[in-house]
Amino acid sequence: MLCALKVRLIYHRFDVKRVTRSDGKTKVTEEEAAKTIFNGLKAAGINLVATLPDINLAQLLQQVETDRGVIHVPLCREEEGIGICAGAYLVGRKCAAIMQNGGFFNSNNAIVTTLLQYQIPLLLLIYYAGDIGDRTFSTSGSMTEPMLRALGIRYYVMREVADAPELIKRAQILAEDSRRPVALLLTKELLGRRASLKSL
């Protein structure tokens, strides 16, 4: 009961429009999910965001792109984004990097020899390609969590958009307190995308 009330309060606070699915769970559109996540980033104090596109992140990147209060750095390769965010942190910015898990793999040397070696916090928002319900990169999906664990990066798999603002805020606080990167894995259902199961 208390839990249900809490969820409702969060919905109310971040004004997420809901549609009711046949199974009784709530589902939001891609655009609404993107707005909720992006507003969560802003509420957590994030003011510089480095990004590289994935089709599942398109709406979220649209939000980043059109907000004038946040510096948006579109990247050519994710590893440079780790450097850009580290540099911006050193002069007082709060940063987030948004990428696909393939981009997280690309970024590993920078994560180890810049973020971890210098104890620099960074919020990583990683699209979880190859997660259950995403049929594009199952090998990447199988390696994502083991690699995060190998690097000692604390991570959370996000499935409910209603939880996103609170989780983002807590993850940013954890990153700052621990002076380490913290990863949030963004799943298809979180982003309001359909699972691709049609051919089965």
Binding site: L48, E80, I82, G83, I84, A86, Y89, G92, T113
Partner: protein, 201 residues
């Protein structure tokens, strides 16, 4: 041209600029010439230009200088289109091109076989990108870049001479804290805030 002489020229002109130095001997030589907490040493080969870009975007009124090498930039060529795209007016990117991976056994880099980093920078969209062929030319273009309000890329062909200087005196974490405290002090801002409760909660 010797890199050390070029660095001496920069040290005279740099004033209070924040300086990011690439992995390798350039860090030690620069630190010997302009010691101080406004220097940040990079340990990830390639990230010098990207870390400097982050600083320049984060603190747009403050000059930021990236002291990069050919091996380093070759590893992160995609930082050039990103620099061009973001076009920070306060960033000066200098590449000392000696044609070798100096800190890694002096094997040849691709610039030794004809790759032109200034041409790449220009093709990436950095309008103010040029080679400095002599010390006089280097001094002139560095002064122009530091006095102006435009993104600048300077390539300097240098010899492989290494100047004997002391080792870097601090580790990475101390470098981070000193650098942040330096920014806090010189910009009169609070960056590192610890809001932990007095007891467990």
């Amino acid at each position: 041209m010797k890199r050390f002489d070029c660095l001496r020229t920069i040290a005279v002109a740099a004033a209070d600029a924040l300086v990011v130095t690439s992995a390798g001997a350039v860090t030690l030589e620069w630190n010997a010439l302009r010691p101080g907490d406004g220097n940040f040493r990079v340990r990830t080969l390639g990230l010098c230009s990207s870390i400097a870009l982050g600083m320049a975007l984060g603190l747009p009124h403050r000059k930021v200088i990236a002291l990069d090498g050919d091996g380093s930039l070759l590893m992160n060529l995609c930082s050039l289109p990103t620099l061009a795209r973001m076009r920070p007016k306060n960033l000066l990117h200098i590449v000392f091109d000696n044609g070798v991976y100096e800190a890694s056994g002096s094997k040849k880099t691709a610039t030794a076989t004809g790759t032109d980093l200034v041409a790449i920078a220009r093709a990436a969209g950095i309008v103010r990108a040029r080679w400095a062929h002599s010390e006089d030319e280097f001094r002139a273009v560095v002064t122009q870049a530091l006095n102006g309000r435009e993104l600048f890329f300077i390539g300097a062909k240098v010899t492989t001479d290494r100047t004997e200087v002391p080792p870097y005196p601090i580790d990475e974490v101390e470098n981070k804290y000193r650098f942040i405290r330096h920014v806090e002090k010189t910009e009169n801002v609070a960056i590192l805030k610890t809001n932990l409760p007095a007891s467990y909660s």
